[in-house]
Subunit: 203 residues, 4 copies
DNA sequence: GATGAATGAGAATTCATTCAT
DNA sequence: GATGAATGAATTCTCATTCAT
């Protein structure tokens, strides 16, 4: 990892994300972040006013990451059912590949979203904005059941995906397999898709 | 301000549950617990060896609560579908009426279950043990689809229920209504039941 | 051990002696003393005003023990040389059989004798009072060298005896034998007697 | 009030030695050490993990001091008897000039050497290593009595020297003179030398 | 005499933050 | 930009002592 002056801020943010995701804001130690970023603690305070500011910066960066994902050209093809399946898969694998994201969101949720609120109030559902559009389209076209409550449904999809990653360690113990192994991931995704697609297509 | 000896420990446990559920083990302050329990901090250390021990005691008490629920006479009647609906409802309302439970479990989950592991390793699924039995029965009787993966399904039910309460504050902002109001709760439960029942009954 | 009311005070004193000898006044815990005495902590404060008072009471009791020894009929027979040997032996075995004594005296010594001073200022040499008398007799009779400095000599005898017991644990490690085993004790005593008698009898 | 970085650790160690020697590990207060070192308590924990670690560091430093003494060029001249006298004098004056040393060793001894053991197990006799060599030489040359038990003898010399300094305060009261005044010191040393030399040279 | 719970003052340890260079 | 030492305010934990019964 390069150590030129310019990327100091990046290194701090990245280390902070790691530590905050792992331990939450109260469990995180500024020292650990500085060590992991390979910078002097004083530099950390040069770039960020306080531990809390740094935490918020991490949240902001993560929100931007989802936004980027959710606004990038959609690779869903075929009919609307297939597009739902694709959108769910995209989200699921985004969470799998960005393990810090769901953890950060959950620490935040447990704290009532006090910090996240300072960044972007309505971000919570952003990652599923595309999916929402597809579902709305499907409802109006009669492909999906007309009585879908999108709030409930999007909440459920979020739950079905996030919960899995949040509880990874515990599931790992309970099931005695690694929940984030490729084939195990795929199995989980299939289950979520079945559950959701079955529901939205049957009146 | 009663001060009888026997309930001091209870008061401490109860205050600790409140504070740990609200802030997690790292965010909790022993002083706050002592104040809320209306005891001298010293007494807290008389009954519990350390903050961590107290936290574990809280976890243990909560585990026992679920166990008590899941092992009490089941009020499910009627056919297996109805029984599943009842079991989900029982669990959902248990979470609604014991708001600390899901929060404690989630703080724990985020920390990899390090403390919970010291109490009871396999407790995680305990609250849904009854439901599991019903589902197994339904599968063998051909009432439910035969290819149910119970691990996945129970995880999903847990997710659908817990996530809602964990994200209560955020949903409250997003939706601009109180998610734990009786009728809103009932709506959420209906959605979960639909999702699950639809899935398990269609091959 | 009997637990009738009357001997509570005795039990406390005895436990306190044990604990104070083992850990010193600062290392001792009132709780440990109470537990070991099998009484309620409150009783301890019934009999003794404070931890310090209790400690002083222990010192006093120990001083009385030496006084009793040093004033009891002397079993020294034969000539003065033999009497010196006997007196040294008596003192040495007193220390061996009352392991708390030398330890208490040494904790006190390290603390400048602040507490002991409150009990009996001149007690320090009491245990060797008899020996002093014999030595004086021997000097005037010309049996011992006439230039003996009794202060120095008594201090030395005290040192030669006490030091051994105080450093018991360390000698045990260094020598890899138990320093208070009967034959090892006897060897030490012989050495001390040789050293002293050789000195006092040669001009 | 200089504040250069390098000597902070030294100042802490030096203050700690002072306080630990004066009050023992249980009687010592971290606050007092910090004050005396003129640093913030926090720095103390920056350099040393805990009070116990600091105490062990003090022991280590003191052990190194004796080692340095005992391994420096010996200024003993003349015949073996004179060399013994010199070696005893060196040790005696080392203790006189390093009053913390004997005190630290004695606090340790009373606690069974639990902490010292972590530093250097066999250090206890180190300060008299040189003397031991001379005595061995003298025995084989027939200058000293052939039946010397060096363990006993070295223990005795240690006792005769250390005990004096450990009991300084009490002797001061008993004798009504200052035991560490130069001429009083010299008198004590003379006595010890007489005692020992008389013993080792007479069969 | 006896008990167990309770307490306030204090002691060790930790942490985010800032100063001097 | 960068550094390492320094700090004050908490925070956890401990202890001798006392109260209510």
């Amino acid at each position: 990892m390069e150590r030129s002056a310019e990327n100091s801020k990046e290194r701090i943010l990245s280390a902070a994300e790691e530590v905050f995701a792992a331990r939450g804001i109260d469990g995180a130690r500024v020292d650990e972040i500085a060590n992991q970023a390979n910078i002097n603690k004083r530099m950390l305070y040069h770039y960020f006013q306080s531990k809390e500011e740094l935490y918020i910066a991490v949240l902001r960066a993560n929100f931007e990451k989802v936004l980027a994902i959710s606004s990038r050209p959609f690779n869903g093809t075929g009919n609307l059912k297939e597009q739902v399946a694709t959108a769910i898969g995209n989200y699921f694998y985004f969470l799998a590949q960005n393990p810090h994201f769901a953890r950060l969101m959950t620490w935040e949720a447990l704290q009532g979203g006090v910090h996240a609120r300072k960044v972007l109030p309505a971000i919570w559902e952003e990652g599923l904005e595309r999916l929402k559009a597809i579902l709305e389209q499907g409802m109006s076209q009669g492909v999906f059941r007309p009585d879908l409550d999108l709030r409930q449904l999007l909440t459920s999809i979020n739950a079905l995906c996030s919960y899995y990653f949040i509880n990874k360690d515990i599931l790992s113990t309970l099931w005695d397999i690694d929940p984030v192994q490729p084939d195990v991931l795929e199995k989980r995704l299939k289950h979520i898709r079945d559950l959701v697609l079955n529901y939205i297509t049957r009146p």
